[in-house]
């Protein structure tokens, strides 16, 4: 990642702007039970990706510069804007910098759902799938027999040849 993006995205203002955008991309649930992407700290994931993925740092830098340029005439921080203005700015940014916004969205989704606190909100375990797995009740032989009985009754359904 270039020094420039360090200075833009990870300065105090830049971080606030990035986190604001992350919150627009994945907001918190209405009841506040499921956090937004910005509040979850997805910025760290994105910073790491910007270091790893060739070209991503420059793309983020360009997009965040455009975001800052869009914010400047409003004379305020992203956080201080009304919800409608924050959404409008994000939509404007998506139109002007589609590649940036696509990449930011993709890595936001990746960072957000990788956080082990998120999958349990959807019923998944916070633990790795293996070796723990999931309990799935057995279909009893009687239940299975009853389910397939109508299919069996209709008889052969392949072409003999």
């Amino acid at each position: 990642m270039s020094n420039l993006i360090e200075s833009i995205a990870w300065s105090a203002d830049g971080k606030a702007l990035l986190n604001g955008l992350l919150d627009e991309i994945i907001p918190a649930s209405d009841d506040g039970r499921i956090p937004s992407a910005g509040s979850l700290g997805v910025e760290d994931f994105i910073a790491n990706k910007a270091r790893e993925v060739p070209g991503l740092g420059a793309l983020l830098e360009r997009g965040l510069r455009t975001a800052q340029a869009l914010l400047e005439p409003k004379g305020d921080t992203f956080e201080a804007l009304s919800p409608a203005d924050r959404l409008a700015l994000a939509e404007s940014l998506e139109r002007r910098e589609p590649d940036f916004f696509t990449a930011l969205t993709r890595y936001t989704y990746m960072g957000y759902y990788t956080d082990p606190t998120i999958p349990p909100h959807f019923g998944l375990s916070a633990k790795p799938p293996h070796p723990y797995g999931y309990e799935v009740p057995d279909e009893s032989p009687e239940e299975l027999t009853a389910l397939v009985e109508p299919v069996k009754k209709r008889g052969r359904c392949y072409q003999k040849c």
Binding site: M110, P119, L124, P129, H130, G133, L144, V148, Y158, Q159
Partner: protein
């Protein structure tokens, strides 16, 4: 550099290479297998990590163009709506496949006679039946006997769990009076042969760390190696070479450092899948075979078949828990599998209830699909109100062979050893498009009958990253002018060159092919064993 000659040289250590190696290992033949990938370290499977989903988009992607590992070769699929996926390692695609284990129907071997399309195979279901059964035992297949969609057979293990999602959808099919059956799976429902039963972890593509899923690195290879078959990894075959009589006499291959070696052999067996095998054949040019080895018919690389897929998703009132259980296997309907003259297409399709996926993958578009869900408030609605309550049906269509759907050598792009990479030229035909439309409508009916309150995704496009099943590019047939291999899997024009992977399929059926690929590999192995004294007559 040259190595000591062997009797049988197998190229590729995936599903078919492993099966044929095991089959031949009961002889006293000296057998060597060259594999371009490495042995996988099962302790490091992504399924053992909490960030497992990320690996689907990185070094454990099913797409070699995304993985970009040293053992991978790029594939140019710019001229195809479907891109081939694979895995290069000991175990091949069985490392990351989903182990849905469906046999061909008898009619799939007779489509020319029955429906006037494609070509009949020179062998039939009955020929393969004992090899299907043998392979089921070797791999450890779970399923329920009595499926009226097949001639009678009994899987060695009871079926895997259908789960809430499967039971719900089964109810819908029953209401409509349509065929369905619990899926056969090469996944253990009980402990078997030293392997542990399925833990329902739901991420079969990210490596089955408990070994419940039958990948050939833990089924066939340990047995074959114990019987003396040698397996060399990180050896990428460049070409099959021929002697003055036009017989295969071995291969040239690159080692891990790119150094080129010669390996002599009496018999060569190609087992590199429907893309890799024609690639090697087309790159094996000689005075006797200027268009590639065994390609006097011009059929090598042609007739490429995938299984174009589309999906329909219904929204239910209860969470469907689709992330629990074997990822692609729950129930399968073959109500629309055989040709029905009242429809506007020939042949047919299956309605597969794979389960559902994990949250990140859903957010990024689904498994094999790059179409992220919306951001903003719509994201929350999708994730909180739709994802947990969704269940889908996948329409898996029977692809028909076309000369224009093909694998060629890319004129410009090469892999890290300078070997031309495969270029895919593929278009969906009108028959397939009509079949998909029909399937999408029937899938909606089935989901609604099962209790879905609405349909949230109606299909419409085939999935791009869905070229798991690669077939037809060196097809089996009786006519040497229209096919590449004969009924033994032996090249018509090179008597000691055999092919055992999906390339030799004359038709694609509408089912996952690995069961049939391995049954064929065992059958070809048997043909070699039975006829070895007269192979060169």
């Amino acid at each position: 550099m040259s190595n000591e000659a062997v009797d049988v040289l197998i190229i590729g250590a995936g599903a078919s290479g492993a099966a044929v190696a095991w089959s031949l290992s009961e002889t006293n033949l000296k057998i060597l297998c060259l594999e371009q990938g490495s042995r996988v370290d099962r302790r490091k499977f992504p399924s053992k990590r909490s960030d497992y989903e990320l690996h689907r988009y990185d070094k454990f992607s099913c797409d070699p163009n995304v993985r970009g590992l040293p053992e991978d070769y790029p594939i140019n699929a710019e001229e195809s709506p479907i891109t081939p996926v694979n895995f290069n390692a000991v175990g091949g695609g069985t490392i990351n496949y989903l182990a849905h284990w469906v046999r061909f129907h008898p009619s799939n071997f007779r489509t020319k006679t029955l429906d006037g399309v494609a070509d009949d195979w020179p062998i039939d279901y009955r020929t393969l039946e004992p090899f299907y059964a043998l392979n089921d035992r070797n791999m450890g297949v779970s399923g329920l006997a009595g499926n009226p969609s097949y001639p009678p057979y009994t899987p060695p293990l009871p079926p895997i769990k259908m789960g809430k999602l499967g039971r719900t959808l089964a109810g819908g099919f029953n209401k409509l009076g349509w065929h369905w059956w619990p899926s056969d799976a090469a996944i253990l429902s009980l402990d078997y042969e030293g392997r542990k039963k399925c833990r329902n972890a739901g991420v079969c593509d990210l490596g089955c760390a408990v070994g419940a899923k039958a990948s050939v690195d833990i089924t066939y290879w340990p047995l074959a190696e114990r019987r003396g078959v040698k397996l060399k990894t990180r050896c990428r075959v460049r070409e099959v070479t021929v002697d003055g009589k036009g017989r295969a006499d071995g291969v040239l291959y690159h080692d891990e450092d790119g150094q080129i070696h010669r390996q002599k052999a009496v018999i060569v067996v190609l087992a590199c899948n429907g893309i890799g095998t024609p690639r090697i054949m087309l790159n094996s040019k000689s005075k006797q075979f200027p268009d590639g080895i065994a390609n006097r018919s011009g059929q090598v690389g042609k007739n490429l078949m995938f299984h174009p897929l589309s999906g329909v998703v219904g929204l239910f009132d209860q969470p469907m828990e689709g992330f629990k259980g074997p990822m692609a296997c729950s129930i399968l309907s073959q109500e629309f599998y055989e040709t029905d003259p009242s429809r506007d297409f020939v042949r047919g399709y299956g309605l597969h209830s794979g389960r559902y996926t994990t949250p990140m993958t859903y957010a990024l578009g689904g498994y094999g699909i790059d179409r992220p869900i919306p951001w903003g408030e719509a994201h929350r609605v999708k994730m909180d109100e739709i994802y947990p309550y969704s269940a889908g049906l996948t329409i898996v269509t029977e692809d028909l062979p076309r000369q224009t759907n093909r694998v060629t050598l890319d004129p410009d792009l090469t892999d890290s050893d300078g070997i031309p990479v495969p270029k895919i030229t593929y278009r969906l035909d009108e028959n397939t498009k009509r079949m998909i439309s029909h399937g999408e409508e029937r899938a909606k009916e089935a989901l609604l009958a099962a209790g879905a309150r609405s349909i949230v995704s109606s299909g419409g496009d085939v999935w791009r990253r869905a070229g798991w099943h690669q077939m037809g590019t060196a097809r089996m047939g009786s006519d040497p002018d229209r096919s590449v291999v004969d009924s033994w899997g032996r090249c018509h024009h090179v008597k000691n060159l055999f092919i055992v992977d999906g390339s030799i399929f004359a038709t694609s059926a509408a089912v996952n092919p690995t069961s049939t690929i391995q049954a064929l590999a065992l059958y070809v192995g048997n043909c070699i064993k039975k006829n070895r004294r007269q192979l060169f007559d």
